[in-house]
């Protein structure tokens, strides 16, 4: 078990290195640079700026300077948010993005599970139709539109929740963003649960349970939920990484700090350091979550360990 986990960790190292290399060079190939703005900079200013960020060195030298920094945990300066280093921005944004993503994950998973189960139990009756329709909405309507509609309804018209912004310690500012973020995730979970639950409810052992006189509630809790959960569990890993890396729209619309927002700003402004920093972090998150899921699988299914 431990050797399996170690092997996976070692395999992750070349993936990270490859990502850094590819991203580094693709970014430099993209037209435009961090100092192309509405106004042309005086030549000497530009020269000084480029020297300050080592951009005057040959590309390959820049790459090794950067790589050397990353290995020591230094992601370099941000070229657009000049008062911060990339590491500091990530340190500010990450806890926030994690809070947002994990809250949305828990809420979306629980709500999606309940909705899916309800729909399955009432298959082809009106609660099923209603839920299938409702669940479809967050999958069809883009996140930003959903966010704007929610702002209008719950903020501007009903005055229940603040429309946006962030104040340390005030959870109420997070209610709307978390729910909006959790909706597509919840919808996917609901569809998965409904499908697998319907399949489980049609199996012979459920019929046996019913014929021996068990009530519907007992059948559900004792026999149906566990097997119905399996496909959902395999989705949760990618689902969580999607939530953690997909918070950018919500962070932008609700004016929240967070690495998603930094990622957009950085990419649009060719802030090489910040784009690379956020990308590396995203890769880490995705690799770590996949690793956890795989190790869990290995724990559950010995066949995986042998492969």
């Amino acid at each position: 078990m431990i050797t399996y986990a170690l092997r996976r960790v070692l395999l992750a190292i070349p993936i990270v290195l490859l990502t850094i290399t590819v991203c580094f060079f693709i970014l430099r190939l993209a037209p435009g640079g961090p100092f192309d703005g509405e106004r042309a900079l005086p030549v000497n200013v530009l020269r000084n700026l480029r020297a300050h960020y080592n951009l005057d060195q040959p590309l390959i030298v820049q790459f090794f300077i950067y790589l050397g920094g990353v290995l020591q945990g230094d992601f370099g300066p941000s070229m657009v948010m000049e008062d911060f280093t990339v590491s500091r921005l990530l340190a500010i944004g990450l806890p926030f993005t994690l809070t947002l993503g994990f809250s949305a994950f828990v809420i979306g998973t629980v709500a999606g599970f309940i909705a899916g189960a309800l729909a399955a139990v009432n298959q082809n009756k009106w609660p099923d139709y209603l839920l299938v329709f409702v669940v479809l909405l967050p999958l069809i309507i883009p996140n930003f539109l959903m966010a704007n509609l929610a702002q209008l309804l719950f903020g501007v018209y009903l005055h229940w929740l603040p429309v946006g912004g962030y104040r340390p310690g005030q959870i109420i500012n997070l209610v709307m963003p978390v729910i909006i973020l959790s909706l597509p995730h919840g919808a996917r979970v609901a569809r998965l649960v409904r499908g697998s639950m319907i399949e489980v409810l049609g199996t012979n052992y459920i019929r046996t349970a019913r014929s021996k006189g068990l009530g519907p509630a007992l059948i559900l809790t004792r026999h149906a939920i566990k097997p119905a959960l399996l496909p959902v569990v395999s989705y949760l890993g990618p689902g969580l990484s999607y939530l953690l890396t997909g918070s950018l729209v919500v962070e932008q619309v609700f004016a929240l700090p967070g690495i998603g927002k930094y990622f957009i700003t950085a990419a649009l402004n060719r802030d090489y350091g910040l784009v690379l920093g956020t990308t590396i972090l995203y890769v880490f998150i995705i690799l770590a979550l996949n690793l956890i899921v795989d190790i869990l699988y290995a724990y559950l299914d010995p066949k995986v360990r042998l492969r």
Partner: protein, 538 residues
């Protein structure tokens, strides 16, 4: 849920509410500030959203009044020598930094030396280039900073010597590039000196919190000489990059002022929030630049045909919906030191049909017609409004025999292409840094040849070049008589515009939304509204 749990939740909520009520007793201005500040360092800042913050935590020799005109700031008075080249400032005795140290003349000397130091690489250093030897220091020709024309005579007297008389110099001093700094603080904290906790300022407010991507908080400074007159206790500079969401926050009462709003919401705001949307003339021009370094746009007749066939009257009211005024000249109306009649070409008064006929004839003479059109690429940076205008104008050009290919790119890519001269027609805009016509006219000066043989065209993307124009600007820069100088600049403007150096399209407007709770917000051509003049009623 158990009863005890419910009780606990209610008690917590109640305590929270109480806490919020007690915190709300301070008067807080919630300002929708637009983008995320790139830097609060006055030598690195470069946007109006940064100016709003920097101008509250720092104050220069000269500050801005409610209409953004220069008034005494850290200097209580000054004298100007007869030839207009030596300014002597007397600093206020009660001017203090937020850590309690007095503001002394040396702080300004340090600031200007740092501004021009090539190592600082300050983008906006050129605004203070009227100061003696500043250009040479910034260019690395002079390495002895003591030769800079900024001297501390004593702790409270500062002498600034200029290369030549500069009528807009006091205006330039209101800019953040002229603000003082604390050399000791910068040396101690390095790049991190602007972080809350490290930052020291001499303005009315001090920065206490910075959550990048969300907000910056500033509170009244105890050491500011005018602190008793401040009516706002705290400012929240809120990140409002998403304009639609920001408007929703305003409508819900979370923001008191928006510094921009989606143009298509103007009618809605006028109907539902009468008097709150402020649209006012703003010193700036929106224009199309034509690459004159290669055919076909080096032909003045083709440039003329393109310019006169643009029906500018529909752009502001119909395409944008915010009523921007049509632009035919190069210096925005209301610019200072520019008395006299505004440039208005004869063709602008002709009926549009006649202009189109004339444009068709010009194109035909150059060998183009709707059947055999001239193919042009029009570049703009990705933005809904730029796109609308580009579509409208390409339609206007179609009838005179020009087939337009639209090409949009992100801002850095767009300006990279303009700088490199890799375009035919491109969208650009210029907002005045200071209220003087030279600030826009300088954009059309011939590029300067560097020591390595390359020509630096600066912001003259179209490579417009006319020795007569350059000569008029050179004469104006030496002219002490403001009326005569204005005359020369008028001539320069007419020279460039008669040759269709660019296609000016409209004059910018400032777009603010101001809650009726706020008083002390007056629209002005610079769109600078300092919080120290504002108050808020509940």
């Amino acid at each position: 849920m158990k009863i005890t749990q419910v009780l606990k939740a209610v008690a917590t909520a109640g305590a929270l509410a109480l806490f919020m009520v007690s915190a709300a007793s301070a008067v807080t201005l919630n300002l929708g500030n637009g983008s995320e500040p790139g830097s609060l360092d006055p030598h690195k800042a470069n946007g109006d959203w940064e100016n709003r913050i920097v101008g509250e935590y720092l104050e220069g020799l000269v500050a801005e009044d409610i209409q953004a005109n220069p008034i005494p700031g850290q200097a209580e008075s000054w004298t100007i020598s007869d030839d207009g080249t030596v300014y002597t400032f007397k600093l206020r005795a009660d001017a203090m930094w937020s850590d309690g140290k007095p503001v002394v003349a040396q702080n300004f000397v340090d600031a200007f030396q740092r501004l021009f130091d090539p190592k600082t690489a300050a983008e906006y250093a050129y605004l203070q280039f009227p100061i003696k030897n500043s250009t040479k220091i910034a260019g690395g020709e002079i390495t002895d900073f003591s030769q800079l024309g900024v001297k501390a005579v004593d702790d409270h007297t500062l002498e600034i010597t200029l290369e030549a008389s500069t009528p807009f110099f006091l205006q330039a001093l209101t800019h953040y590039t002229a603000f003082p700094i604390r050399k000791d603080v910068i040396e101690k904290f390095g790049d991190q000196w602007t972080q809350p906790g490290n930052i020291v300022g001499n303005g009315p407010y001090k920065i206490t919190e910075w959550v990048p991507g969300s907000y910056i908080k500033a509170v009244k400074s105890d050491t500011y000489y005018g602190k008793d007159k401040l009516k706002i206790d705290e400012i929240m500079f809120e990140n409002t990059e998403d304009l639609t969401a920001a408007l929703n926050r305003y409508r819900n009462g979370e923001l008191d002022i928006l510094t921009d709003f989606p143009a298509d919401q103007y009618q809605f705001l006028k109907d539902n929030y009468p008097g709150q949307a402020h649209v006012a003339p703003f010193l700036g021009v929106y224009y199309y630049v034509m690459n004159q370094s290669k055919p076909p746009l080096n032909d003045v007749n083709i440039r003329k045909a393109l310019s006169i066939s643009v029906l500018r009257d529909v752009i502001g009211p119909d395409v944008l919906g915010t009523g921007e005024l049509p632009a035919y000249g190069w210096v925005p109306p209301g610019t200072g030191n520019f008395e006299g009649e505004a440039y208005l070409p004869a063709w602008s008064k002709e009926p549009y049909d006649q202009r189109v006929t004339e444009a068709k004839a010009l194109m035909a003479a150059a060998g183009y017609s709707p059947e055999k059109p001239l193919k042009l690429q029009l570049r703009y940076n990705t933005n809904e409004n730029h796109q609308r205008i580009a579509v409208a104008i390409s339609d206007m050009w179609k009838q005179i025999g020009v087939e337009v290919e639209l090409f949009n790119a992100e801002t850095p890519v767009h300006y990279d292409a303009l700088n490199a001269g890799d375009f035919q027609v491109g969208r650009a805009g210029w907002l005045l840094d200071y209220n003087d016509p030279s600030n826009t006219l300088d954009l059309l000066k011939t590029g300067v040849k560097g020591t390595d043989g390359t020509v630096n065209w600066g912001n003259n993307y179209g490579r417009y070049s006319n020795p007569k124009f350059d000569d008029l600007l050179a004469q104006a820069s030496k002219e002490l008589d403001l009326t005569k100088r204005g005359g020369l600049l008028h001539q320069a403007e007419a020279t460039a515009m008669d040759e269709f150096a660019t296609i000016p399209i409209y004059w910018y407007v400032s777009k603010n939304v101001v809650s009726p709770k706020i008083t002390g917000f007056e629209d002005n051509a610079k769109d600078i509204n300092r919080v120290r003049w504002m108050s808020k009623s509940e």
